[in-house]
Symmetry: C2
Subunit: 244 residues, 2 copies
């Protein structure tokens, strides 16, 4: 049995997220499993590095799967590319070590949240940025972000009750202005359900002056979703990189 | 009566092109005229620098219109932006000299044709590039393009019978590799119906080795659409700049 590592990009706009839901075909995982099972003429189960929600995009999602085949990776990659819909792209495929698992082996992830923070229209990337015209106090947002860095219980920034530990390490939060775009990059050892979007929503509220950077400690301490800000929309979020 | 100059960008994917067709709402001109007539409470007719076909995009289309109003341009621009659909963007609005006319005053235009010439997927810009995996001989394409430069009767590169003159001056054709993208920029004093797309289709045939650069003179001389190559798809074409 060979073990494969597949790197994907996708425009999540028309999908119900990564995770397969029954037999519906409108999830990324569902699409891929159906395709690979047909191409390889055997049932194939895919593990993603993590789930992305409905409408969230990926620049480089990583997944792994096991299959019995003599095909070389280049040939199999070309076959996958031929049959994938145009909003899912196969970037790379290689044989992985026996013990490699896209989710369990994952060491670190970076997500990027893109805000279109300008009066000017942005027609060509409109599906990948959250439009927000009002001026944002980015130094205050940076100060708030700095207070979230480190190892914490992030229950306040989680969109559902956690049975397991909600402790994660947030290693870097970077804010960049790129013309009319405000880009927030978040790197950590793992992220809870909706965690990036709730952090971004909370930072936006700081940027609007509705919260102060120094309130972040209390938000963390509360361990209560209601203490944090709104969940920023899915369309601005992109899974940027997964490191092993 | 004031005379306005409006600069627009648009994603042409879901429109039947620039030009209004009866009362249908799915043309750029039709959308704009309806919106401006409502906002300004008077019938407004818009002149574009030229028509773009169904599916063709614009980075900076220019149009002009006359209207009676006391609104300053900044206010009117904000109103237009508020009501335009998200695939049409108003970049700039200003008062123009009395005699300015977007089409008649136009001195020069640049179109860009984007080819995605790579095996790698291009998920996020897929609506704006024509995907073409096969290797293309770009030096041969450049030589062919050079033979089209200058003032010629471009009837062979026109998608319909011309009643008026088909003489145009093609001033520059530039080919650039930008990663997996092959970008062809064409500048001239004006372009006939489908002219850019037929030139690009012909250059692609040269790039594939199906035609030789030195055949271009004969193609021009034929003054016959059948002598030139195929019409490259609309989705890769973008009206880049209009100069006055």
């Amino acid at each position: 049995m060979r073990n494969f590592k597949l790197t994907l990009c996708y425009d999540g706009s028309r999908y119900k997220g990564w995770q397969r839901q029954g037999n519906t075909e409108n999830t990324i995982q569902g699409r891929l499993e159906t395709l690979l099972s047909r191409l390889l003429e055997q049932p194939v189960e895919i593990s993603g590095s993590g789930r992305t929600d409905a409408g969230v995009h990926a620049r480089a999602q990583v997944c792994s799967f096991r299959a019995e085949t003599d095909l070389d990776c280049e040939t199999l990659l070309a076959m996958i590319r031929r049959y994938l819909p145009e909003d899912i792209g196969a970037m790379a495929l290689c044989d992985a070590p026996e013990r490699f698992h896209a989710r369990l082996s994952c060491r670190e992830k970076t997500y990027v949240y893109r805000i279109w923070n300008s009066d000017e229209p942005n027609v060509f990337a409109r599906n990948y940025l959250y439009p927000l015209r009002e001026p944002l106090d980015t130094p205050a947002m940076e100060q708030a972000a700095a207070r979230l860095l480190g190892r914490h219980d992030f229950s306040s920034f989680c969109g559902m009750k956690m049975k397991k530990s909600a402790v994660r390490e947030l290693r870097e939060v970077k804010l960049e202005r790129l013309g009319g775009e405000l880009r927030i990059s978040l790197t950590g050892d793992g992220f809870l359900y909706n965690m990036v979007r709730i952090i971004v929503g909370t930072l936006i509220e700081v940027g609007r002056g509705e919260r102060r950077p120094e309130d972040m400690e209390a938000v963390l301490k509360a361990r209560n979703r209601a203490a944090a800000g709104f969940t920023a929309p899915a369309k601005g979020l992109i899974l940027w990189e997964v490191r092993y």
